[in-house]
């Protein structure tokens, strides 16, 4: 049976390093020394999904998205 896997993805060209994602979703995002996001490639679990969606919606540059793949 196909399983859906969700992961964060950032467009590194659009990203401006504002840092909201790391603040709103520390379970999968941390900041580097310059404030740019380092994404954890671990799948987003269903209970974390609301936080992930909030981080995506809050990005002022619309650089963050959720990548859905079938596995």
């Amino acid at each position: 049976m196909a399983m859906t896997v969700n992961r964060l993805r950032v467009n590194p060209i659009t990203c401006d390093g504002r840092g909201l994602c790391a603040e709103l979703f520390p379970e999968r995002v941390r900041s580097d020394d310059w404030g740019y996001p380092i994404l954890d490639p671990k799948p987003i679990t269903p209970e974390l999904m609301p936080h992930a969606l909030r981080a995506v919606a809050s990005c002022p540059k619309l650089a963050l998205s959720i990548d859905t793949t079938e596995s």
Partner: protein, 411 residues
């Protein structure tokens, strides 16, 4: 003039060692290699069977790439010949384009017929003036039913990255773009595009003439074929050599006149420093670039020079690259000149961790970080000596790296 690197000592298939090398016009090319058989979509399977891999650095199986474009092109694809070779330490594509322009064009035209492309674009590094002249003279000699264009590519390190090159051909700056789409899906003017390194196409043209078995037998089952290798640094005869893909790094050093180096930079500016005892098979050396560090040189100082170059070559689009690379570059420069404190080396290591893991649109930060990490490992002894006693005498030695050129623009 191609000084000081001249083709020599090669096995002689692509660049014969006999006589002075010069650009072959179409008549000389045909006399040398014989006529090219008619190409067709069946050539995708031929290339796949040959085991040919991309010679631009990534080593991707060429047949798989041709397949991907062929499945989408439907006669309207584009073949984009990548002759940017922006790594200052690599010379082999420039050499091929300069001396064997028709062999590269043969491969490009073959690829176009195989994958269903109506157009060939040859992108040559605009600082490679001799290669330009050769291709510009060669194109009108061809009578093909497809358009062949020559384009001046900026001499920027990331301009040879396939999305950057497509971006440039499409009228933009030669900076990478985010993927997807990949060029095989949507490339030049939105068409499925095969971006292929010049050397890879030259080998494809020879496989068309002699067969996939002939090519495989030049190497081994694990490393089929032959490859062009640029050898420089502490060797008697720096130059571009042609060796079996199954040859070893030791074979390449022997061909160029072993100068007794104990440390090597394999793969050019995106490469890895290794102790010679741990050197790998030639096939694993990115783009076939091998630099032998003279025993009198300081590896940390050479690394600082490369890092400074790579930081300056950032397309300045992605935070991890435009923030990270200048920071790494300044930190390793302090280490090299013996002014760094241990805490700064710790910070440098932390940064290499933060900046790895494909955080940019292209692999520019990854390549720079990998080079730096290999330097910190390979020159660990020198590193502690620099921390305790300041810069070593080797840091005053002349650089083994090619002299920096004037920095190019993005368009």
């Amino acid at each position: 003039m191609i000084d000081p690197l001249a083709p020599m000592g090669s096995a002689g298939i692509v660049l014969p060692s006999i006589g002075p090398a010069q650009a072959e016009d179409l008549a000389a090319h045909l006399a040398h290699y014989g006529p090219m058989p008619m190409s067709s979509p069946a050539d995708v399977a031929l290339i796949e069977a040959s085991g040919l891999r991309g010679r631009g650095g990534a080593g991707f199986p060429t047949g798989v790439k041709w397949h991907a474009v062929a499945a989408r092109a439907a006669g309207r694809g584009v073949v984009l010949v990548n002759g940017v070779e922006a790594d200052p330490s690599s010379e082999k594509d420039r050499m091929l384009l300069t001396y064997r322009p028709h062999l590269v064009l043969d491969g490009a035209i073959m690829a176009a017929r195989a994958v269903g492309a109506s157009e060939v674009v040859v992108a040559v590094n605009r600082q490679a003036v001799d290669a330009h002249q050769a291709i510009r003279a060669a194109i009108p000699e061809r009578r093909e039913r497809l358009a062949i264009d020559l384009i001046d590519a900026p001499s920027r390190y990331v301009a040879g990255e396939e999305t950057a090159l497509v971006h440039f051909v499409n009228g933009g700056p030669a900076r990478p773009t985010v993927t997807p789409p990949r060029p095989f899906d949507r490339g030049v003017r939105g068409r499925p595009t095969l971006v292929q390194n010049a050397e890879t196409l030259a080998w494809a043209a020879l496989i068309a003439r002699h067969g996939d078995g002939w090519f495989r037998e030049l190497g081994s089952s694990a490393a089929p074929g032959a490859m062009m290798v640029t050898v420089r640094g502490a060797v008697a005869q720096p130059g571009v050599y042609e060796l079996s893909a199954a040859a070893t790094v030791e074979d390449a050093l022997a061909a160029a006149g072993d100068g007794g180096a104990t440390t090597l930079l394999l793969g050019g500016y995106f490469g890895h420093w290794v102790d010679r005892a741990r050197a790998r098979p030639l096939q694993e050396v990115n783009a076939g670039v091998l630099i032998a560090l003279p025993p009198s040189s300081c590896g940390l100082t050479e690394t600082a020079r490369i890092m400074s170059f790579l930081a300056g070559e950032s397309a300045r689009q992605c935070g991890p690259c435009f923030n990270g690379l200048p920071a790494l570059s300044s930190a390793i420069a302090k280490v090299a000149t013996g002014r760094a404190k241990p805490v700064e080396v710790e910070r440098l290591r932390r940064w290499t961790g933060q900046l790895s893991g494909h955080r940019g649109a292209c692999h520019h930060p990854d390549g720079a970080v990998a080079l730096l990490r290999s330097a910190l490992d390979t020159f660990a002894g020198d590193l502690s000596a620099h921390l305790q006693r300041g810069a070593c005498r080797g840091s005053q030695s002349p650089s083994v790296l090619p002299a920096a050129k004037v920095q190019d623009g993005w368009r």
